[in-house]
Symmetry: C3
């Protein structure tokens, strides 16, 4: 139950980030809702296609797409009226990242994938929606860009730790929530303290 509330908060935050990107790229309400929904459920659809869970949860679960539409429409209506506050959005997005990478790993393990594959699938569940969002908005995925804050690495670590806990038999809801919270915390710390992954040599000279 608490779990569902968290997941829906993540869906809402992901959808708003997609919708905000769509507004910035001069899309109409169809584009805003499409980008919002795809960002929110794209990672989960990728996960379900890779593990063979068809039709994907985004289609069988009636709550996901409507919640994503609500998030998208909030952005649509608020645009030009008031500004969506940036910080709470980033915190919600980080919570979504943590929950999605843990949940994706758990679902992949439940479908019989080995721990290595499950961790990769979990990572893709967390980051996939944002990558599809950026491609549909005509931009290089932000998580790949020089100078971007950590996103893929904590998601992969979260998937890996979840799979390791499962292999070791330490697999409780509490442990899973702790992993998700740690991933979220690393993401938020990376934003706060401007952590970033290494870049090729000459790019690093630009930033110092």
């Amino acid at each position: 139950m608490a779990h569902d509330v968290f997941v829906l908060a993540g869906v809402l935050a992901f959808a708003m980030s997609g919708a905000l990107q769509a507004v910035g790229r001069r899309m109409d309400v169809v584009g805003i809702c499409s980008l919002g929904v795809v960002t929110a459920v794209g990672g989960g659809i990728l996960r379900d296609l890779l593990i063979g869970a068809v039709p994907p949860a985004a289609l069988t679960d009636w709550t996901l797409v409507p919640v994503a539409l609500v998030g998208s429409l909030i952005v649509f209506w608020s645009h030009g009226r008031w500004t969506v506050p940036r910080r709470p959005m980033l915190v919600l997005d980080a919570l979504g990242l943590g929950l999605f990478c843990v949940e994706g790993t758990v679902k992949a393990l439940g479908f019989g994938l080995n721990p290595y594959a499950s961790a990769v699938v979990g990572m893709l569940t967390g980051v996939g929606g944002g990558v599809i969002r950026d491609v549909l908005a005509g931009q290089i995925p932000s998580v790949f860009r020089h100078g971007s804050r950590l996103y893929v690495i904590p998601a992969l670590a979260g998937g890996g730790i979840t799979a390791a806990l499962w292999s070791a038999g330490h697999f409780s809801l509490l442990a899973l929530l702790a992993v998700a919270a740690t991933v979220s915390a690393i993401r938020i710390a990376s934003l706060r303290f401007r952590w970033r992954a290494a870049s090729p040599r000459d790019l690093d000279l630009d930033v110092g």
Copy 2:
């Protein structure tokens, strides 16, 4: 039989729209044929992956890809010789949209998806090919753009009405063709009367 002729007309129109886009983006004949085929069968492949109908119909049905290749090559050969007439193309594309969204919904229902999921799958069958076309051509999907004519909304309505007819037990070939024709008519009317979906406030000021 009549149904097959309509579907192949839609495939032809979708392929020509992909090929025209490829010509405009300075692609060679390989790019023109690839974009033509992907535009024509991309929505159907997306549908089949989501409902678990693998291998997809585009691979098992020998007619689809060859017809799409014919459409692509017509565009390739005609370029610089005579202009592909714009209006008949848009009408054929609208017919394809109507047929594909209804057919996609029916196929999804046949694979046991619930009506809600089937309507979404039907919409994706209709619009998916065009979205993949635009992404491969390095452009933001035209159906998302500010000022674009209605495309996703009639496709979603067509899928929804098809699923509702099925739920209510009113499910005849005639009813399905009527829904497809209505979707096509709305699309054509939207082009004729310049209907468009709402955009965020400040963008709307540009258009008036």
Copy 3:
């Protein structure tokens, strides 16, 4: 065994081409590794989704992603220190193309697809990774562009000949390696002798 060495050489070459593209687009190490891995295994994942072989080999086979990561990190570390030599890279990439299109066709036939569908799947196995690489790098796929050297055509021919050999009952490891080698040789000859597919009339005037 020899086969596996060749495939891993192809994976390495594909990964390095993705990583090089990522460096050119100012990505950090996360983007470099992601683009490298996706380029190396993207075609195979596309193949496995289309034929219903889930989870895809890229997830169940422990060697593919790590080898792709090694290739990506070589590019990352070498950047600014020494230049990745262009010619050996292109030869390795051509070897990968030949092997992947033959292997993809064989795997599709083994999953019961008809020869026509299997040839298309084989072609997609060979070219899919590069197309996804270019889309993620924000560029029109290079294999579609006016003036590009032959890539899709030899891959499709390789898939077609493999499927024809299978239909005719002439199906030995030697024959398959000969087909793969021929595809690679055509690709290399196309680079050496500047072969290219036809373009629309007015574009051809530019090149002469």
